[in-house]
């Protein structure tokens, strides 16, 4: 209940700000962006985030599954170490460095977002699969489940909530990071925000940044719902959520 109040208040402030600013005519000497500009930027922003997330997920989850296979466990240490180091790097550095590596353009932006978005998914997927009680896996083996059956019927369903949490965390971070991606040629709400930054106009910054924040919060909320919905009932009871 209290949580919903907090959530709705913040969303109301962000959306209210966006609507109010967009309805203004001018800020100082600058024109505000029109509704159609705002909407098309928002759509481009969302699209960029979704593409990056889909690619990141389809790399990170199989990679996590791969390094948790019994024969390939020695790959896990370097891969997870890499993911940890990667997450320590500042997002701005990862994005900026794409310019000298790949040049300016949408693909640089998406590659940067993918790489940065991949790390939390990889870490969570690995933890989710790796933290399953060994006794559960052994019971499955002892009952004659094949390796594929253990992966499909035991490991994935049990790790799914943790994997989904990784995707949620990654998506929320990527929505914010995507603002910076305009610096290397990305599209989206960052365009408005950086116009405001250069003009040193807080309201113009907020015209881009407030809807970005709202988008992050809303996506986070939706993905959290999906996460709960995907959590097997037997696990919900365990965690006492029910």
């Amino acid at each position: 209940m209290r949580r919903q109040v907090v959530l709705i208040t913040i969303l109301a402030i962000l959306i209210g700000l966006t609507v109010w600013i967009t309805s203004l005519d001018k800020i100082g000497i600058y024109d505000v962006f029109s509704w159609s500009d705002l909407l098309s930027d928002a759509r481009a922003h969302l699209k960029m985030v979704l593409i990056a997330e889909v690619i990141a997920t389809s790399i990170a989850v199989p990679l996590a599954i791969l390094v948790t296979r019994p024969g390939l466990k020695r790959l896990a240490t370097p891969v997870i170490f890499g993911a940890n180091v990667g997450q320590t790097l500042p997002s701005l550095a990862v994005i900026a460095i794409m310019a000298p590596l790949l040049g300016f353009g949408l693909q640089s932006a998406i590659v940067a977002l993918c790489i940065y978005g991949l790390l939390p998914i990889l870490r969570n997927s690995y933890a989710g699969i790796n933290n399953i009680e060994p006794a559960i896996i052994e019971a499955g083996r002892g009952m004659g489940m094949t390796i594929g059956q253990i992966a499909r019927k035991i490991e994935l369903p049990l790790a799914l909530p943790v994997i989904m949490a990784g995707i949620r965390i990654s998506t929320v971070i990527t929505v914010g990071t995507a603002e910076l991606a305009v610096l290397v040629g990305g599209k989206g709400l960052g365009r408005i925000t950086f116009t405001g930054v250069l003009a040193r106009q807080p309201l113009l910054i907020l015209q881009g940044a407030a809807p970005t924040a709202a988008m992050a919060i809303i996506l986070g909320f939706i993905l959290e719902r999906i996460e709960k919905w995907m959590t097997p009932r037997g696990l919900q009871l365990k965690a006492g959520i029910s």
């Binding site: 701005l92 610096l183 960052g190 807080p202 910054i205 940044a209 924040a213 919060i217």
Partner: protein
């Protein structure tokens, strides 16, 4: 790459300046964030404050999802309205303090709440007052977890400080943005690599500190 290195050998003073500036901003912000976060964490972990705790932690969690540029914008707006400087050091530090809250606050809260009730009862049984219990039992046991939160916060703030350069705070974000604006790849590399090294080194150091402050009895092996 080669140009970047040549530039560094030519202007080591500039790189050192940005780096020191970066460390200074993060240090100031983290000092304030720790005092605030730990105090608030202790306060909301007291019995009977569960509802406030839940709302505060949730608020901090949501604030983490707000992109830094949005927070900068918001702070500039508020500071402007009350007549303070809207760019530079002040809005940057305020934003950093806010971002530093979640890891520190949450870890403090969890650490104190999760102290074994048996230990608290033992303390009470020996006649410790609430205050003595907090300082002699709860906090020492919570220190390693609070340190882990601090470590996360510092690494996070080093990253956000780089972005704060765009509102005139200075630091290693300066060459990155300058390079991006003027397509000066050498500057981008210098800024990006330096700030990454800074984050990795500080993370490594904090890992050491974390182990060092863990009470001997709690260390694993």
């Amino acid at each position: 790459m080669v140009e970047a290195w040549q530039w560094v050998t030519k202007h080591p003073d500039k790189l050192a300046g940005w780096t020191l500036e970066h460390i200074w901003i993060v240090s100031v912000a983290i000092a304030i964030a720790v005092v605030l976060g730990v105090a608030l964490g202790i306060y909301i972990s007291r019995p009977g404050k569960e509802h406030i705790a839940d709302s505060v932690l949730y608020l901090a969690e949501i604030m983490m999802t707000v992109p830094s540029l949005a927070l900068f914008g918001l702070l500039m707006l508020i500071l402007g309205t009350i007549g303070l400087k809207v760019i530079g050091f002040l809005p940057a530090v305020i934003a950093l303090v806010i971002y530093g809250q979640l890891p520190i606050l949450r870890n403090t809260y969890i650490a104190i709440r999760e102290v074994d009730p048996a230990m608290i009862e033992a303390g009470k049984g020996m006649g410790m007052s609430e205050r003595q219990l907090l300082f002699k039992v709860k906090l020492p046991l919570a220190v390693p977890i609070i340190m882990a939160g601090l470590r996360n916060a510092i690494v996070l703030l080093i990253g956000i400080t780089a972005i704060a350069a765009i509102i005139g705070a200075g630091g290693l974000g300066v060459p990155i943005f300058r390079g991006l604006r003027n397509a000066r790849m050498d500057l981008i590399i210098i800024g990006g690599v330096s700030v990454s090294i800074l984050a990795l080194v500080v993370d490594g150091l904090m890992g050491r500190v974390e182990r060092w402050v863990t009470p001997r009895g709690l260390k694993r092996r």
